[in-house]
């Protein structure tokens, strides 16, 4: 009888439990198991876990993932915890710094390199929020990623194209934009905010005056509608330019 709980099987069960459970205490228990069996966890699984946990409300989970990554002795995951070194929660910051020190010892990386990377880290944090949404949707079989969303460029191992970078710029500033400019429009070109105006027409003219006829973005500043838009069968397939 094959009833033996191998470490790998325990990791599988813990990952499954983590993905399906919403109770923070239960999720923390599963994270503990994964931390303890980190050598039996693959890079991809750890990436996925870190991406999800990085934006968890519960600071215990964010702290635990820092610990798990430090135990993994995989310096390529250091980017996940760099962002958490600036977490709003003191416990998470402490865990993140401890983990960075651990990984620094392994990789002989100086802490001084972190400071110039703050922008990159912040971008990564927001990108992770977006990825977390997509991961959840994919796990729930709600959304299938389309190839053009995750196209060409590669930032620290995570593929992004120019369009996704612009959307990521929006998401990075979404909280402040919703607070100060809800209902208005924001123009983004080359992953940089060009302007915020009540009129999309005005922004389009600003883009054209400054950059010519280019592909740029004008996003309406609003909370996203969760309900998918229904497409009639006769309209053909949605395509992109």
């Amino acid at each position: 009888m094959d009833s033996e709980e191998t470490p790998r099987k325990m990791v599988d069960n813990a990952l499954k439990g983590f993905r399906t459970n919403t109770n923070p205490d239960d999720r923390l228990s599963y994270a503990w198991i994964i931390s303890q069996l980190i050598e039996d966890t693959t890079d991809a699984e750890l990436y996925e876990l870190a991406a999800v946990v990085a934006v968890e409300e519960d600071p215990r989970l964010r702290g635990e993932i820092c610990y798990a990554i430090s135990r993994s002795r995989r310096p390529q995951l250091v980017n996940f915890i760099k962002g958490m070194a600036q977490d709003k929660n003191q416990y998470v910051r402490k865990e993140a710094l401890t983990a960075i020190n651990e990984l620094n010892e392994i990789n002989n990386v100086k802490l001084s390199v972190i400071e110039p990377l703050v922008d990159t880290v912040n971008e990564l944090r927001v990108m992770l929020i977006d990825l977390q949404k997509d991961i959840k949707n994919i796990q729930n079989n709600i959304v299938k990623p389309i190839s053009s969303d995750y196209g060409s460029a590669n930032i620290d191992g995570i593929a992004m194209n120019d369009r996704t970078k612009c959307w990521e710029t929006y998401l990075r500033n979404e909280k402040e934009l919703l607070r100060d400019h809800k209902g208005e429009f924001v123009a983004i070109y080359n992953a940089k905010i060009v302007g915020v105006r009540p009129s999309d027409l005005e922004l389009a003219n600003i883009i054209h005056d400054n950059y010519g006829a280019v592909e740029a973005f004008i996003y309406k500043i609003e909370e996203e509608d969760e309900e998918p838009i229904q497409m009639p069968s006769y309209m053909g397939n949605i395509v992109e330019i």
Partner: protein
Amino acid sequence: MVDLLVSHKPYEKKSGVACFAPYVGVIISSLAEQNPDTVVFDARIDTGADITCIPKAYASKLGPLILGNPITVRGHDGNVTRVWTYRLTISILAYPDEGRLKPYRPEKGVLLTDSSIGLIGMDIIGICRRVTFDSTTKEFFIEC
């Protein structure tokens, strides 16, 4: 003031479509007013479409486009995907006086499709004052 933009326009039957239906002449153009490029074609008034759909073949003639917020759509096969929207100015040509037009800039942007027929969806229809379909005469009216 009520503007009777389209008056007594007969239903039409387009190639590849089974029935007579209401079509309007539309002009699409870049959101930036400095860009003079425009494309004219017919689009069907479709209360079943939540969002206006433009054939890619026409939109691509305008050069680089302004993109809007990505949205989630559920296709007829049940699959849900995330797609980009595009921001265009869509002007409906008056009828029978084709010298007039009424421009619209759908807030959610429009979708591009591989179809040859454009659909004017509820994002535009919903802000018209009144749309009337006369099944007796097979004509329709749009008031703005």
